[in-house]
């Protein structure tokens, strides 16, 4: 068994596609009309056959209270791995992305949290490859 697809609720699927491709740099995989909405997925260009991220409409009444409560406490709904978190933080900040947590050293990794403008907080993580931390997990 492997993880093929996971999903995030987004306020506006077109705006979400623009953010996840133009700003974050993912690639569109599927964009299939389904009634008023779309089956819309993106993948990482670093692993085009890897797990897809479904950008799912947020119309269900349970979505708003769920996401509002998590956003209030700063809890991210997904985690993306990056090679150089400081560079990503600088790149995304220059594009107007707002971070609720700047890059923070947590021992074996550096993490940061940003607002995806679609209603979600997302965590970035750079795992340390430093040998001093190789056996720290």
């Amino acid at each position: 068994m492997k993880i093929a697809l996971t999903s995030l609720f987004v306020d506006d699927q077109r705006a979400a596609l623009a953010f996840y491709t133009d700003v974050l740099g993912f690639t569109k995989r599927h964009d299939i009309p389904l009634g008023d909405d779309f089956w819309l997925t993106v993948v990482s260009p670093e692993s085009p056959d890897g797990p897809e991220l479904l950008l799912e409409p947020s119309g269900h009444p349970a979505v708003k209270p769920y996401r509002d409560a998590l956003a209030e406490d700063g809890i991210p709904l997904a985690q993306f791995a990056v090679e150089d978190i400081e560079a990503e933080h600088a790149r995304l900040t220059s594009k107007g992305v707002v971070f609720t947590q700047p890059p923070t050293d947590i021992g074996n990794a550096v993490v940061a949290v940003f607002d995806d403008t679609c209603g979600n907080l997302i965590q970035l993580i750079e795992m340390k490859r430093d040998e001093n931390h190789a056996d720290a997990r």
Binding site: A71, D73, G74, P76, T100, Q101, I106, G107, D115
Partner: protein
């Protein structure tokens, strides 16, 4: 209103203030992760939330909503009550 002395009478709450004085303006999520990863304090999120409530009630922590998230700030002002009550002074010779 929680007494500032009672609010400080707890190692976890003092550690939260240490973390906020190092980097002010943290979400509950960030506070929980730094307590776990840096201090090995793996309390539940709910427990940390309650500790923050005590600190806030004592005036030692203030919250501010920015965007959709709530950020916690350290306010050292109530600590002045301690130095005002027992000001530093030189010992007087008998």
């Amino acid at each position: 209103m929680v007494d500032v002395f009672r609010a400080l009478d707890d190692e976890t709450r003092r550690t939260i203030l240490d973390e906020l004085s190092m980097r002010d303006g943290q979400t509950l999520f960030e506070i929980c992760s730094t307590l776990t990863m840096r201090h090995g304090l793996s309390h539940s999120r709910q427990a940390i939330s309650q500790h923050l409530g005590v600190l806030e009630s004592a005036g030692l922590v203030e919250t501010e909503r920015r965007g959709r998230s709530k950020f916690h700030y350290f306010n050292p002002e109530p600590l002045a009550a301690i130095t005002n009550r027992w000001p530093t002074r030189k010992r007087t010779e008998p």
